[in-house]
């Protein structure tokens, strides 16, 4: 390894790989993030891909990106602006130029910058760097296509396969830039193409040549140095929010001794949960790919009636279709977890983009008084925790639980420290007992107000339930007026009782802060980073971030009333702020809302929060 001419020391760095949606940028980014994680950095990643599978080549709508944020310190978001951009074509450059940090590094495949591609990307001149106002940046104009062809010219590969290896050349160059080993990526290539030795050899050669190209151009190019982070010892793996949800349910099935059943219908961005659980037949998961969203939840309700740990997964439009069936699970008082991976709405909206605009739908989007538990995960890896606890609450309290995640959490990844499952709680299944002579289908646990689960197949517990109102004392169908009011109150009361079984709200930052920042769900990383950075700059901010929304933590009012200035930040027009207003009419809150299909940026949050200190 040659001596490096200029090394930039950094605590943390954001790298974005960007190219045509067929350029293999997702894989390139994933491999880079693995290598960084194994090196010992804390990482957070986020893919940004178009909703078209193969949008027109060379256009901005066809740009697919993958962002990796890694650091010597802990990182909570995939980063707003990038230090290093790899642009495989002019469209990628054009789409991402505005996301560059001043003075950052751009690696551009200059071979792609022909007249045709420049026009397709919308550049008017033949100098995209100047046109995108990147004059003061480190621009590495690498002829990646030519170099890849040169690298592979004697290997006997067809032109198409050669061009497909361009991403490995770029990856090799980025490894040089960050002085990272190639071992993990080589192992991956060997495994992935185990039966195609020629492809293995070609990809490894291109990767190495890309790395060596860095040595050749080092006089012109600075490289970066980021030390490993101080991470808690243990075994780790990279985990996305969607896989984390799937795994939370697997863990819950094991801890409850119940068979796991998923009824679902593919929908972006929730589909990976369905795919992951479909692959888990080794752990006995029954997955039913239904004919539609309604059948997805209805098969799950059937499975729950039959005694399985039943879940269904969807995104916003699918939750709308499931509304009536959720009401059935509520009145039948059957355990069920409904996962809603929120995306931009209404209607089809922005299917691949993130938003938090389904909160009110989750809380109230059904006919009648139909309370369900609402829980929201707040990081890719804690999707595991909240899926587990959603299942635990559903079973132990015999109620549907709606778990809200979003496109940002679902597709983002973080390193996940493998849990010791012995440290996780058991899930107690509230089974009806044949010996209980007073048992009837709606007999309740007086502590929790939940009924008992009598599962078909057990002699002596034969019973009928359904969507009609039931008599409180016998479980038979009842149209009695006062009974109905009591049952409505009991179902609501049962959900409210769950507040006794969930943790209190934890405050980040100082008790006497000037401003309390309030958030919920997937915005945690950005809100926390903003508040943390402001604290380091000497400002007094605190953060109250909610994971339990219905019921709210017991101490919610007590925390909120301490602060004169509260700002509720969310990726919608203020749904959680409205909800808090309904619960606590005397608490005034300010609002900071963004509905662009994009997460908050730390920079915009900090800028806004600082203005709150002024008045």
């Amino acid at each position: 390894m040659g001596k490096r001419s200029k090394v930039i020391e950094r605590e943390e760095v954001v790298v974005r790989f960007s190219g045509d949606s067929g350029d293999g940028m997702q894989l390139t980014g994933t491999l880079f993030s693995y290598t960084s994680a194994i090196f010992g950095n804390d990482i957070s990643t986020f893919p940004d891909y178009p909703s078209e599978i193969r949008a027109p080549q060379g256009t901005i709508s066809g740009v697919s990106g993958f962002q990796v944020h890694f650091g010597h310190t802990e990182v909570y978001t995939p980063g707003d602006y990038c230090d290093v951009l790899v642009a495989m074509n002019p469209a990628a450059l054009k789409a991402n130029a505005k996301w560059m940090k001043p003075g950052g590094t751009v690696i551009l495949d200059v071979d792609s910058c022909d007249e045709k591609n420049l026009r397709k990307a919308g550049y008017e001149t033949n100098d995209p760097i100047t046109e995108s106002k990147l004059g003061g940046y480190n621009i590495v104009k690498a002829p990646i296509t030519t170099l890849t062809k040169e690298s592979l010219k004697d290997m006997g590969l067809d032109n198409k396969s050669i061009l497909r290896s361009k991403n490995m050349y770029a990856l090799g160059l980025v490894y040089w830039l960050f002085d990272r080993p190639l071992d993990h990526t080589k192992d991956y290539i060997k495994k992935k193409f185990a039966k195609k030795q020629l492809i293995v050899d070609a990809n490894i050669k291109v990767l190495e040549d890309g790395y060596n190209y860095g040595n050749i151009i080092q006089a012109l190019t600075p490289s970066y140095h980021i030390n490993p982070a101080d991470i808690k010892p243990g075994k780790y793996r990279n985990l996305s929010g969607n896989v984390a949800v799937a795994w939370g349910f697997l863990a819950a099935a094991e801890k409850s001794g119940l068979e796991l059943f998923l009824g679902s219908y593919p929908i972006t961005p929730a589909t990976e949960i369905l795919q992951e659980l479909s692959a888990r037949k080794d752990l006995g998961v029954k997955v039913f790919q239904a004919e539609d969203e309604i059948a997805g939840i209805c098969t799950s309700i059937g499975a729950s009636f039959a005694g399985d740990l039943a879940v269904t997964t969807t995104s916003g439009p699918g939750l709308a279709l499931k509304g009536e069936a959720i009401g059935l699970a509520i009145i039948a008082e059957l355990p069920l977890v409904v996962v809603n991976v929120q995306r931009g709405g209404p209607s089809t909206g922005l299917p691949t983009k993130t938003e938090q605009s389904d909160l009110m739908q989750a809380l109230y989007g059904r006919n009648g008084e139909s309370p369900a538990v609402i829980i929201a995960a707040s990081s890719p890896t804690n999707c595991f925790d909240y899926a587990f606890y959603a299942a635990k609450i559903a079973v132990e309290h015999m109620t549907p639980v709606i778990l809200l995640t979003d496109g940002f959490l679902a597709n983002g990844t973080q390193p996940w420290r493998l849990p010791d499952m012995n440290e996780w709680p058991e899930i107690q299944v509230p089974r009806a007992k044949v010996e209980d002579k007073d048992w009837h289908p709606y007999k309740r646990d007086l502590e929790k107000l939940s009924r008992y689960w009598a599962v078909p197949g057990v002699e002596g517990l034969e019973h009928r339930i359904g969507g009609l109102e039931k008599d409180e004392h016998t479980g038979a169908v009842s149209h009695d007026a006062l009974n109905h009011q009591r049952m409505v109150e009991l179902r609501e009361g049962k959900v409210q009782k769950i507040a006794d079984y969930i943790p209190e709200l934890e405050l980040v930052g100082e008790e006497d802060a000037d401003v309390l920042v309030v958030g919920w769900g997937g915005t945690f990383g950005h809100l926390f980073t903003a508040v943390d950075e402001l604290a380091q700059e000497g400002h007094k901010f605190a953060l109250a971030h909610f994971n339990y929304i219905k019921p709210l933590p017991r101490n919610t009012y007590e925390v909120l009333k301490r602060y004169k200035k509260i700002v509720v930040c969310e990726l919608n027009l203020g749904q959680f702020a409205d909800y808090l207003r309904m619960q606590f009419p005397d608490i005034d809150t300010l609002r900071f809302n963004k509905v662009q299909g994009q997460p908050f940026t730390v920079i915009e949050l900090k800028e806004h929060f600082k203005t709150l200190l002024e008045d």
Binding site: I38, A295, C298, S300, F305, G307, L328, E462
Partner: protein
């Protein structure tokens, strides 16, 4: 438990008073189901009766088994979930022409296509009863009802055709008041592995009284219906002298003894042949051109979804090294931080 403690049909009656209209065909069907279940040797606890919404869907409340009265049209999906979760259960789905063929049409055809081992009783009275008399997807063209005061301008579904078109492997038809025959049909459905559809021509005494009368009235039902039996010639009529033959691609009604026709010329019913051509023709026969076919029209062995799910799980589990959640998370790309 001893093998011979077979339950009586009265053991399947719940303590709830039956609230269908006096004279409704549902009463007879309830009796037939309870008798069939007793004959099949079912235990109460292994039976789950699932319904959607409609008059017929109150059925589960009257059965001393496990039961779930669900939401409109979704009975097929919920029953599918019950059966896949626990294939040991005998899952019976109760539905009507509105519940199964209108609002629940999608779930109905897909449960049939998957061939989940459900026994579906489709009460066909060609009317919406519970909402007090609107036309249904099986009402005949021109039918006058509260929502079609000038007659409908739409073609009805033929449930048998829809079932077979959705790749159904078992379809039978019977008449509500013919309890003896209905019990046999329900038993056949219960024994068949895979989705069984039994269409019961049911009379709504209030909103569509005598709708099936042209074929069900005892005075002429023998001449206007044919009770198909596997392996037996397709002969019908009070005199047992009428039969069905194939002329070109069409079924034709003939009289034995006329024009040189003998019993040997009459088609023999093969419910078990895979080819749907003749089954479709039989299912579609309508009076007055043809007798309406009763009996098991189609009963073909085919892979059963819930059984295949279990087999696949067992096969994967046998081969896999992942035996627990902890095994799973430690497999694949894991690194150590020291």
């Amino acid at each position: 438990m001893a093998e011979n403690c077979q339950l009586k049909f009265t053991d399947f009656k719940s303590d709830q008073s039956v609230k269908w209209c006096p004279g409704c065909g549902d009463h007879a069907i309830l009796n037939s189901v309870q008798k069939a279940m007793a004959n099949l040797g079912y235990k109460k606890e292994e039976v789950a009766v699932i319904s959607g919404i409609g008059c017929s869907s109150r059925f589960p409340y009257y059965m001393e088994t496990y039961g779930f009265h669900t939401i409109h049209g979704r009975g097929s999906a919920i029953a599918s979930g019950v059966k896949v979760a626990n294939p040991e259960l005998k899952v019976w789905q109760i539905t009507g022409d509105g519940d199964a063929l209108a609002i629940g049409g999608n779930h109905f055809i897909h449960s049939i296509r998957r061939n989940i081992d459900l026994n579906v009783i489709l009460f066909n009275n060609q009317i919406y009863g519970l909402t007090k008399g609107q036309y249904s997807p099986t009402s005949k063209r021109g039918f006058i009802s509260k929502t079609s005061p000038f007659g409908t301008v739409e073609a009805p579904f033929r449930p048998g055709e829809l079932c077979i078109g959705a790749r159904g492997q078992f379809f039978a038809r019977c008449i509500d008041t013919d309890i003896k025959h209905s019990v046999v049909m329900l038993e056949e459905a219960g024994k068949h592995e895979g989705t069984s559809i039994v269409e019961v021509l049911q009379n709504c005494v209030i909103y569509n009284d005598k709708t099936h009368n042209a074929i069900t009235d005892k005075a002429f039902s023998q001449d206007r219906t044919i009770k198909l039996e596997h392996g037996k010639p397709m002969i019908f009529g009070k005199e047992r002298n009428k039969g069905l033959v194939l002329e070109g691609l069409e079924l034709k009604v003939v009289t034995i003894g006329e024009n040189g026709i003998t019993e040997d010329d009459i088609l023999v019913h093969n419910a078990e042949c895979d080819d749907i051509t003749l089954h479709l023709k039989l299912a579609d026969m309508e009076y007055p051109e043809y007798p309406v076919a009763l009996g098991v029209i189609r009963s073909v062995k085919a892979p059963v979804y819930d059984q295949d799910v279990e087999e696949q799980l067992a096969a994967v589990q046998e081969k896999s090294n992942v035996k627990s959640f902890t095994d799973l998370i430690h497999s694949g790309d894991v690194w150590d931080v020291k």
